[in-house]
């Protein structure tokens, strides 16, 4: 498939060496995007039937994976990889959607997902090699009173539709509105004018967000660094999320390399 060209390409550079695996990004993401925490269901007979420890019930747009170099102490090393939607240049999920509920057609290159249009066939989930898409098997439930604190920036999703990270897209709209109000150009936002919730909250500054095409944005130089790599890059989907690490073994875990294969 031929990738669409965009003047602006919102992307992320995640410094794996800086990530402590604290999970603040996941929490910020859940709050920003109205992802329901699993309300424990209490059964009169069995006590607590399920809670958030049942991972078949949880849903995260951004998940932190733990990886290690599979060596014994003292060479043992661990690293954490936050995994948002990669917003691929030629996404595998888009052409398989039978109802065009997901598309990559807006300036900025963010893959959209329109929940009321989704019929829940889950082809996109099967197509996505990053497991970045999630299906609502159940209606979201919020603990008493919490529904009043929902964020107006993301619509809530019912049972039966697929959802995924959209780089906090409403923040993009808000940043454009602010630029217009201040007499600036909404199509060339300054570095940091539009930032995702996960990048904003990251305490160690491991997640950087910006326009990959704009040399004035920090992510531009970092994405072109020799220490940067992308997950499953050889599939050719062209993710817009880059990982940055100075450790060779982290790079090797980013793709399916053979044991003796030299990394390109």
């Amino acid at each position: 498939m031929h990738a669409k060209e965009f003047k602006i390409r919102w992307g992320m550079v995640i410094d794996v060496d800086k990530c402590t695996g604290c999970g603040a990004c996941m929490v910020a993401c859940q709050v920003e995007n109205n992802i329901a925490p699993v309300t424990p269901e209490v059964d009169a007979w069995a006590g607590v039937a399920y809670d958030a420890s049942n991972k078949l019930r949880t849903l995260n747009w951004l998940t932190v994976y733990e990886i290690n170099n599979k060596k014994a102490f003292p060479e043992y090393e661990v690293a954490y990889m936050p995994r948002p939607c990669m917003q691929c240049a030629s996404p595998a999920c888009v052409p398989v959607c039978p109802v065009v509920a997901t598309d990559k057609n807006e300036e900025g290159g963010i893959v959209s997902q329109i929940y009321p249009r989704c019929i829940g066939c889950r082809y996109c989930m099967a197509a996505c090699p990053y497991h970045a898409r999630y299906f609502n098997w159940f209606d979201p439930t919020w603990p008493a009173g919490m529904a009043k604190a929902l964020s107006p920036s993301t619509s809530t999703r019912p049972r039966g539709v697929v959802e995924k990270c959209n780089f906090c897209h409403t923040r993009f709209q808000q940043a454009k509105d602010k630029a217009r109000q201040e007499g600036g150009d909404p199509n060339s936002l300054a570095d940091g004018a539009y930032n995702t919730a996960c990048a904003e909250v990251c305490p160690s500054g491991a997640i950087l967000f910006g326009d990959l095409n704009n040399p004035a944005h920090k992510v531009h130089a970092l994405a072109h660094s020799k220490h940067s790599f992308r997950l499953l890059e050889r599939l050719g989907l062209g993710p817009q999320v880059y990982y940055y690490s100075k450790r060779e073994w982290v790079h090797r875990l980013g793709d399916n390399y053979l044991p003796n294969e030299k990394k390109a």
Partner: protein
């Protein structure tokens, strides 16, 4: 036998035509009236008094905030700038001051253009247009227009529909990508 069959056929046809006409009348004339309930604003608001008598402009009350977001309908914070006490002679104003300002309660105004949760409309992006290209010209109206609530969906009849947004975007060469309007 055959004659009998013939009459049976025509009677059935007549019944069909009558039934069809009845359904058409019910669907086109009666149903739209049944579908919408006619509501009035909680306070009879006169734009005319504010615009012509007091010399306010649209953006005195409907303004952009510093971050480019839109105030929309004013809240007590703005209204009580003048109406902290009764300043006019109308009953409506007295009711507003007594029931809302003094009790520190917001007026549940009916919003003619209320959009569903998954729609993101930016007034800032549409600033070059005149307000009245989408909204009714109420500046000279002494009475707020009737509000028609769809009994099934709960939305206002006057809410802008997706095809209207799409058509205007297409005519003006603006992207119709999903994320331009949806969240």
């Amino acid at each position: 036998m055959e004659e009998k069959k013939g009459t049976k056929c025509c009677g059935g046809f007549l019944a069909f035509v009558l039934g069809f006409l009845l359904s058409v009348v019910a669907g086109w004339v009666l149903f739209p009236g049944m579908l919408y309930s006619e509501l009035d604003q909680p306070i009879p608001f006169s734009h005319k008094i504010h615009v012509e008598d007091q010399g306010l402009t649209c953006d005195s009350c409907h303004f952009f905030r510093e971050d480019g977001s839109y105030q929309g309908l004013p809240t007590n914070e703005q209204c009580s700038g003048c109406h902290s006490e009764v300043v006019g002679q109308t009953q409506a104003e007295a009711k507003y001051v007594q029931e809302y300002v003094q009790k520190n309660k917001e007026v549940p105004w009916l919003n003619y253009q209320y959009q569903p949760d998954n729609v993101l409309f930016s007034h800032k992006a549409h600033e070059p247009f005149e307000c009245t290209e989408c909204h009714p010209d109420v500046a000279k109206a002494d009475k707020a227009p009737k509000y028609y609530e769809n009994k099934l969906s709960g939305y206002s009849k006057q809410t802008m529909k997706m095809w209207q947004c799409e058509r205007c975007h297409a005519e003006n060469g603006v992207s119709n990508a999903c994320h331009v309007c949806h969240k």
